[in-house]
């Protein structure tokens, strides 16, 4: 999978990497057991410090999304991690807030937003 970063973005680079990998897992573009690029490969590819890649991977590993096998590499985990329900809800609230702010700004009615959500949800079904 090809990642892309933008160093002038509001999000620090390691967060951008985390978000893209998380999105790829959730969207089914990366599957359990898939191998991730090594620190060195990804650092060279994105032209960023290897420590930044390490930080992104470490955080993803802490969240249980990926795991490292010594000498073999880093892989997508078999079982998606389970967030505590309160934490999951809180994260979702943030994302929902951003979504609805954007909708209001663009003058998109609420019904259109829910329709859009349903559409995306169905696309995600395996």
């Amino acid at each position: 999978m090809q990642l892309q970063i933008n160093p002038g973005d509001e999000l620090p680079i390691y967060r951008q990497i985390m978000r893209q990998i998380t999105d790829a897992i959730v969207g089914g573009r990366m599957k359990p057991g898939d191998k991730l690029a090594s620190h060195r490969e990804l650092a060279a590819q994105l032209v960023i410090a290897p420590l930044t890649v390490k930080k992104a991977y470490d955080e993803l590993e802490n969240e249980g999304l990926i795991h490292t096998q010594r000498g073999r590499g880093t892989f997508i985990s078999d079982e998606p991690p389970v967030l505590r329900p309160a934490e999951a809800r809180e994260r979702l609230r943030d994302a929902a807030h951003r979504l609805l702010t954007q909708a209001r700004l663009s003058g998109v009615p609420y019904d259109d937003v829910t329709e859009l959500l349903e559409e995306i949800w169905e696309d995600m079904e395996p």
Partner: protein, 297 residues
């Protein structure tokens, strides 16, 4: 272990104007530290002190646990240095310049030299004066890194280079970091390059270190707030708050930088300072730099 340590550095120009007043920080092994600040703030002066080319009138500097003024040869054999205004002998050929450096360093890595020569693709026979600015800087970088220095010091290395040459310069530095064992101190005005390379930021302002923090800490634990100027806000109250690093008026709005993430800053503004309607956001390095130092020189 620190590979570079500045302790209470003081330095004045010949005319008595003090440029550095009590600067202290250390670069730990494996770190990449971005040295930032406005033009004339003393970044080059500080770097020249580390390289033993300038004397600190007070304070001390240790490079790889050596005194750069007392042990220049031992120090330089383990350090690589590239600066924007570095001059290579104009009449020499590329091959001669590289040969000269190869002879200077016992730990010269011929394989790395060959690799970089291939990447940079300048002709062996070309004279230095016929190289483009980008090629000359690449040659300087090759000479600075082929002995695999423990510490690489770069003073505005990308200054004057086009984006493609800058990117190649970054790629080489990043390969070197991936190989391990190198620490880097670099000054730069290209904030996106700093975001790509650095894991720590030291920001010089008004003769001193204004901020010394991890890059990600700086990005996630500092917030920029834009406040409506007409709301009867007491600038003094905000400026007096411990978390406020800077507040200024610019084009009809008050702009302030706070130590604290977006939520903390919003809470501070609303609950403690009674400010409503502020827009608070995390900012990329370039914005932080402008908000902290804009209009200050």
């Amino acid at each position: 272990m620190s590979v570079l340590e500045f302790t209470d550095i003081h330095r004045s120009y010949g005319n008595g104007v003090e440029v550095l007043s009590g600067v202290s920080f250390a670069v730990e092994q494996g770190q990449v530290v971005g040295l930032l600040g406005r033009n004339g703030v003393g970044k080059t002066t500080l770097i020249n002190i580390a390289m033993g080319m300038l004397h600190a009138q007070r304070g001390s500097v240790r490079v790889l646990d050596l005194d750069p003024e007392k042990d220049p040869v031992a120090m330089k054999s383990r350090v690589g240095f590239v600066s924007e205004d570095q001059v290579l002998p104009p009449a020499m050929r590329v091959k001669q310049v590289i040969g000269l450096h190869r002879d200077l360093y016992p730990d010269w890595d011929a394989e790395l030299e060959a690799h970089l020569r291939q990447r940079f693709s300048f002709s062996d026979r070309a004279r230095v004066k016929t190289l483009s600015k980008g090629q000359a800087r690449q040659l300087a970088l090759l000479c600075a890194v082929a002995h695999r220095p423990e510490l690489l010091i770069l003073d505005e290395p990308a200054g004057g280079l086009d984006p493609a040459a800058r990117r190649e310069f970054l790629e080489t530095s990043i390969d070197l970091l991936s190989d391990g064992g190198t620490s880097i101190l670099f000054s730069s005005h290209y904030m996106t390059d700093v975001e790509r390379m650095a894991d720590r930021i030291v920001l010089l302002h008004d003769r001193q270190v204004l901020i010394d923090a991890g890059l990600d800490t700086l990005r996630e634990s500092y917030a920029v707030a834009v406040l409506p100027a007409e709301a009867g806000i007491l600038v003094g109250d905000i400026a007096a708050s411990e978390a406020c690093l800077r507040i200024r008026e610019s084009r009809g709005a008050l702009r302030a930088v706070f130590r604290g993430d977006v939520e903390e800053t919003r809470a501070l503004l609303e609950a403690k300072l009674g400010v409503q309607g502020a827009s608070v956001a995390q900012a990329p390095l370039e914005e932080l730099f402008v908000e902290l130092l804009g209009g200050s020189s």
